[in-house]
Symmetry: none
Subunit: 227 residues, 4 copies
Amino acid sequence: MSQTRERLPAQVAAGSPGAGGSEGSMSSGRPAGAARPPGRPRSERADKAIVEATVDLLAEEGGVAGVSIEAVAARAGVGKTTIYRRWPNKEALIIDALAALKEPFPAPVGASVREDLIAIAQAFVSNKTDKKRLDCYWSIMGGAERYPELMARFTREVIEPRRDVIRTVLRRGVTAGELRPDLDVETALWLIMGALAQRARAFGAGPVPDDFAARVVDALMTGIAAR
Amino acid sequence: MSQTRERLPAQVAAGSPGAGGSEGSMSSGRPAGAARPPGRPRSERADKAIVEATVDLLAEEGGVAGVSIEAVAARAGVGKTTIYRRWPNKEALIIDALAALKEPFPAPVGASVREDLIAIAQAFVSNKTDKKRLDCYWSIMGGAERYPELMARFTREVIEPRRDVIRTVLRRGVTAGELRPDLDVETALWLIMGALAQRARAFGAGPVPDDFAARVVDALMTGIAAR
Amino acid sequence: MSQTRERLPAQVAAGSPGAGGSEGSMSSGRPAGAARPPGRPRSERADKAIVEATVDLLAEEGGVAGVSIEAVAARAGVGKTTIYRRWPNKEALIIDALAALKEPFPAPVGASVREDLIAIAQAFVSNKTDKKRLDCYWSIMGGAERYPELMARFTREVIEPRRDVIRTVLRRGVTAGELRPDLDVETALWLIMGALAQRARAFGAGPVPDDFAARVVDALMTGIAAR
Amino acid sequence: MSQTRERLPAQVAAGSPGAGGSEGSMSSGRPAGAARPPGRPRSERADKAIVEATVDLLAEEGGVAGVSIEAVAARAGVGKTTIYRRWPNKEALIIDALAALKEPFPAPVGASVREDLIAIAQAFVSNKTDKKRLDCYWSIMGGAERYPELMARFTREVIEPRRDVIRTVLRRGVTAGELRPDLDVETALWLIMGALAQRARAFGAGPVPDDFAARVVDALMTGIAAR
DNA sequence: CGTTAACCGAGACGGTACGTCTCGTCTTCAG
DNA sequence: CTGAAGACGAGACGTACCGTCTCGGTTAACG
């Protein structure tokens, strides 16, 4: 309305800051040749702290509603102003913060499809930051109807890349003859991902046992029908 | 502080209302012989409207936070007082309201395990009230850390019965020789339930196709490995 | 803008609630015959706590700027809403709260003008609630240019009544022949009030000695000129 | 933390710039023989403008809270940095700025004590810069509890010198036999100063009439008691 | 003429208060 | 007991300043 906000679209949480850029001389993401804007530059520390606090709260509080700007500010040790200077509202902040979870997933190339799948599945349910990702997943999915854009972006940038890793392994398996030639890859994906996500959230059933990933993969590989 | 609340523990949403009870004159479940409490009896219409509104909101708003007593009252056409007289707080209301989703699931006994599984799966993702149940599932799971009791009760009273139906079918299949004798029933359960729940929530991928249930069951039956 | 505020102009801090009204049947300041408005009535406890907190803060913080609605709410143990329901903004609140300091000042009728004046003066600088009044006086006068209405009302309702008491005593003294027949009453008023107010604020000079009032009155009575 | 501030303690607002010093070549108060510090010297224009703006704001806004560094900078046509380089915080600035009001008060030596007192009193309430002084007086006294140091210093450096002038005149009067030999000088001081200060602030009573000073002095001289 | 440092402008920082809003709870009324 | 109405305390919202701090670019004096 009468704001000088949105100086530049935050360019936040760059993840892999890209190539071996010579940080310092040319510094943060401004198009080459553009003059540094006047005034004190925005603090990268604040950027990071805000995004991290947001993600943590989203994971812990279990829902977009549990993430209040005030809580984010308090947890990040930052003034509310500093947040509003960068994002116009809560939803925008969360959408951007999700990018912090993008970090690429290394596709393991092991001896066999089975081993690869188990390794990936293992990571999903045991790895520390993947655990936070999973909490965010449930938080966002729970409120999906209210924040469709949020879900869309999270799906596109975080979920799909992970599904892609498995998809690739499955396709490789088909090509290599390890998997059935008429395999319905997408259905298999739903099966394996669904089992992992759901089991990880089923607190009542206790922590996920170490061999759960292997059991899931094996059951899926051999099928349940008698032969 | 100075309340006469909690006259009886609500005895709400009786599920299958049972028998041909003469609604009106003698009404709700008081043990025979117990004297009717003095004063105007509580309205069963209100009870039902409140519970239904609660469940609807939980499904639609996607989260416990989205269910406000205010909204429930408005949607049920009821005063906030009327709700407050029956339940001490929001969580109690939701916990009780979930009982409305308990309605037993008929285990089909068809020609084969495969057909039974497909029928059950079909119901999960296509049936109207099962859809609402699924929405509630995601809403509750999303905020599970904040309301563990809620999740526990929902799991116990709504989820488990449904898992039990499948569990029974699987066991029958093993006994009948249709399924592998060494079948890991629990793992198979996670696979099938996870796939259905997750696919139903993946709005981006479009509505669940009619043959999805069959594809899931078949994939799981035959396995994905080449033979 | 879109408010239902200002149901009735607060009718706050009634001071002497007037006559021996039969509190209970007809209760708080609503014109006879007017129906009680629906809904929960406003809390008189809150009214009082807010006004008292406001006056205290004004006296302690030394200035209108030091009185923040949030501080008032916190000190009164009241939600901000409860304040805003009654007054549209800070200035209105303070203006109204000043009425709490109105409480009439009893004009003593002693043996002589001198004794009366000393008694009054004594009260001004030693009495507890008159001390608070004096603090408010300085707070308001300090910011007089910014809040002229505040000063005007405070002068009219709190200061002038007190000046009137002295004025009356002085006039009585003239009539009785105790004071000079050509006495300039107003100038004498400025002298006595000014001395008291200023001395009370001069922290550096230590607390006001007990005989200060007497010394002031005597000096003024006899004059400083040699005779 | 990493500041080079406080190069020299401001040495600001020299008041009577002292003698007919050859401003320009050797300029402001550095001890003779001390080498001029390197770099661009601080602007005296800025010094003066800042101090003046501060005093003006204090007088106009009626309170320490009304003096914001931002407003001072704007009014002085100076960057906030420039202020911050000289004073560590707002209170220090105001304390220093008050020195600008120190300017000595010439004690008139007229025909009689009465005439001297009237002349001084006249100056207090009519003189232009003394008016500003008076406004500052009220501003500071209003917030005295919050900024005791401010009040202490203002009292010591601005108020007391003025009281001293009157004190001297009164003492001279006693010695000369014009005033009562047993005169309580301090009490007389409170009376005369209080009357002037208070009347000057009483906007409601209109501007101070020209003969007010004379009326006050006369009333005090002759006393109010009949004889 | 180059070094040095103060200058000004601009804007980000953490903080506090604003006035508005919605929520869960509580209280009173009329029926 | 019911519904309506509305007050209560709590606390988040997004805005506006404040005092402080940190930059870039400029300007004045010294060597």
